[in-house]
Amino acid sequence: MKKQFTRRAMLSMAAATAALSLAACGGNVGGGAAEGATFPSGPVTLTVGQAPGGSTDLIARAAAEGMAEKLGVAMPVVNKPGANGALATQEVAAMKADGQNLVLLNASLITITPLAVSASEAVTLDELDVIGGLSQDDYVMVASTKSGVKSVADLKKSESKLSFGTTGVGTGSQLAQALLLAQGDIKGTIVPFDSGSPALTAVMGNQVQVSTVQLGEAKPQIDAGTVVPLVVFSSERNSFLPDVPTAVEEGYDVPVSQYRAIAAPKGLSAETKTALVDALKAATARDSYKSFNESNMLSPKEISGEEVVTEWNELAAKYKKLTEQYNISLASK
């Protein structure tokens, strides 16, 4: 009697376990609705190539919330981290172009990562229909308070050899910093970290003297005065950091930012694309989304899908040209 009870309890526990896990991974079902059904025919899945909780993931969730409301179906966010997002992007690009599967793109995957990895792994926009742009996330170069460095000019004057932390190979942080050092003829050792947080921590402890990280991460420390902002890499001054000069103002040709956009597999029907574009517009118009951008120091860049393709391809070409001109290789150092 008792044994049987236990067994039943175990089975229901296992069932609950399974249900919870399925719910947690977003229930990536639906999709396979009847042929010719109108869009959307079930939940629309938004795949993110980064781990849950990072800035890319949070942006995806903020956008998905509003899009789901406009489309009238659930919009689960599914994280498939791997290879800077290349894994998720290639997977979605190979899916059916029915609008039921979308991917959140990081511009760096298209514009910068190809400079660091082999051609076969590089991702292009050719296999995707871009729905629209989302926002711009700026990089800021910060110095430790102990280093005594307060500006780019100080970097040039520095007698001792400085170490420069980056957030990893093939990132905007690495590219922006490498270009600035090359153009300014500044000597230093590049030290890659696993992500932004350890690179910033290392500057706070003066383990490295300078790091380039995303503004959202650095802002609390800049406000507290534990690190000194030197320069931002956007082409115009950042509204969250109005007193810090841009690299362009300082005379360097280094316009590097992170941009994000939403895309679908290539070949969407005109109606489906319109529905998705409208949903995205409705999502970005919401007050909750706007305040999300504000609190995460993101500048809105809600441009059309066509503009995204043009701008990103131009940036990719520009970065390629600049790295060749200054003889920078992102992969070797």
Partner: protein, 509 residues
């Protein structure tokens, strides 16, 4: 007085019914997902984040923090009962915990783990209350050279804690180090052992390796065993730890609390090294080290206390410096930003109610967890009465689901199967999976820290010895590595002397 005012106000914040409810909700969810390997606190918090948008910042963070430390409690259960450690910091719990369960003492193991977790957590909170600003800078003093020395020390401890053959442990650990090199080189972007597969670009995740080697390997091995002799299901003798068990574990709990608290402050790998160090310390201190790996209660008490103390102290860098120490803290960092609170050095002065509210909620949360886990121990140990024919498929299902939820990818499920087969073969040939898994975890820390150090030190290895913390750690490393050899020599000499002196004694008589 200035100090205690805000602290007491913090208790006022916590005792607000809404906050108490969210605290309970958080720890209950945390405990549940802790039981499920794979779906970690980081992913859970990211998914539940929208739920917190509508509530007060302090309420939101109380709940999210509850999920995090609640998960540490839950993680023990699968380690002890099913031999599947959900995260790196509970790998060492498996060594003695699972053996205890097989001996019918699962209740003792889980009970001691719950009590140890409670004490470790509470010591962590007391430390957080009184020492947070003082010890916070500790995290900043740890640069690449210090992490290199710490990882080296950790790998050495891996070698000393394994029970069986030293050579086999070394071989397993070497293989673990090799697995840690798989993936895109984070310094050059070069592909290493990925065979052009993008799923391997970020290397192999800890979860499929641990699930496969420990969980699935054990299932396969047991299947074979049952063909030889029908082993009776383990009898569950005493559900509660006896007074003797408690007395035996009390020292381990005390030492684990302190070790866990200090190592937990370090961002990246602190909790894992804490649990490892706690186990190694207990084994070194024991009168009879051979009991370890065969069901020593201190082997569960030490690491379980340490990983909970570490989980608590990992809030220190976030709340005092604004540095997230691990993936979960990074999401809580994001949650604070969304709430309009900037996590950083000014948090304590600008938002004392939030800081003390969250800190004090942990006292309550830990008590809630203890109250919840004690009756659950009685329930969970009954799992062991289930016939293997039913329990094995359920365990397999949990491991597969766990692996799938990491990245929603079938590739990781395939890896579990692969490592399951490897785990089976290892067990058959007398290799332990522990050294492999732990070396794997520490291997990437060692490699990246060493290469980063050499960049910072401009290729000059003497730099490791001119920095006080890394020098101390390296000297400790040398002592721990060399001491057994010296001891053997001394023992031999003593024996030789004894043999020499013996005849003289006889002559005199």
């Amino acid at each position: 007085m200035d100090f205690f005012g805000p602290v007491l106000d913090g208790f006022g914040v916590v005792l607000d019914p809404t906050n108490l409810l969210y605290c309970l909700l958080g720890v209950a969810i945390g405990m549940l997902i802790g039981v499920l390997p794979g779906l970690g606190p980081a992913a859970t918090i990211a998914i539940l984040l929208p739920l917190t948008y509508g509530v007060e910042p302090v309420t939101a963070i109380i709940m999210l923090a509850g999920i995090f430390y609640g998960a540490q409690y839950g993680g023990t259960i699968t380690s002890v009962l099913l031999r599947i450690p959900g995260e790196a910091s509970s790998v060492v719990t498996v060594f003695d915990g699972y053996v205890l369960a097989k001996q019918g003492r699962a209740g003792t193991a889980l009970g001691i783990a719950a009590i140890g977790s409670f004490i470790g957590g509470t010591v962590g909170i007391i430390g957080l209350t009184f020492l947070a600003p003082v010890v916070a800078s500790f995290a900043l003093d740890f640069g690449p050279p210090e992490y290199t020395a710490l990882a080296l020390l950790g790998i050495l401890l891996v070698a000393t804690i394994s029970g069986g053959s030293k050579i086999k442990a070394l071989i397993a650990a070497a293989f673990g180090l090799f697995l840690a090199t798989v993936g895109r080189d984070i310094f050059t972007g070069a592909e290493r052992f990925t065979f052009g597969n993008l799923s391997m670009a970020d290397g192999i995740d800890f979860v499929p390796i641990a699930m496969g080697l420990f969980g699935v390997g054990e299932i396969l091995y047991n299947l074979e065993e049952r063909h030889r002799a029908a082993s009776a299901p383990a009898t569950v003798a005493n559900v509660w730890p006896s007074r003797k068990d408690l007395k035996q574990a009390s020292g381990a709990i005390g030492r684990g609390s302190v070790l866990g608290f200090f190592l937990g402050i370090l961002p990246g790998g602190g909790a894992t090294i804490a649990s490892l160090a706690a186990y190694a310390v207990e084994k070194k201190r024991a009168k009879d080290p051979s009991r370890f790996g065969k069901g020593a209660i201190e082997g569960v008490a030490g690491p379980e206390t340490a990983n909970n103390a570490a989980a608590t102290s990992s809030f220190i860098p976030l709340l005092t410096l604004g540095i997230p120490a691990n993936a979960t803290m990074a999401i809580i960092f994001g949650a604070l930003l969304i709430q309009g609170v900037t996590p950083g050095p000014q948090l304590i002065t600008e938002h004392p109610d939030l800081f003390w509210g969250v800190v004090n909620s942990m006292y309550i949360g830990n008590i809630l967890l203890l109250i919840m886990s004690i009756p659950l121990v009685g329930l969970f140990v009954k799992i062991l009465r289930i016939r293997a024919a039913i329990l094995a498929p359920i365990t397999a299902l949990i491991t597969m689901l766990g692996a799938y939820t990491i990245r929603n990818s079938m590739f990781d499920v395939m890896l579990v199967v692969l490592f399951g087969a490897l785990g089976y073969l290892m067990k058959k040939f007398g290799f332990e999976p522990g050294p492999l898994v732990l070396a794997f975890v520490l291997g990437s820390l060692l490699e990246s820290s060493l290469r980063r150090s050499l960049l910072v030190l401009e290729g000059d290895p003497t730099g490791f010895f001119t920095r006080p913390i890394s020098a101390t750690l390296l000297v400790t490393f040398v002592i721990v590595a060399v001491w057994p050899m010296i001891k053997t020599v001394l023992d031999k000499r003593k024996k030789a002397n004894a043999v020499l002196s013996d005849p003289k004694v006889k002559e005199k008589v």
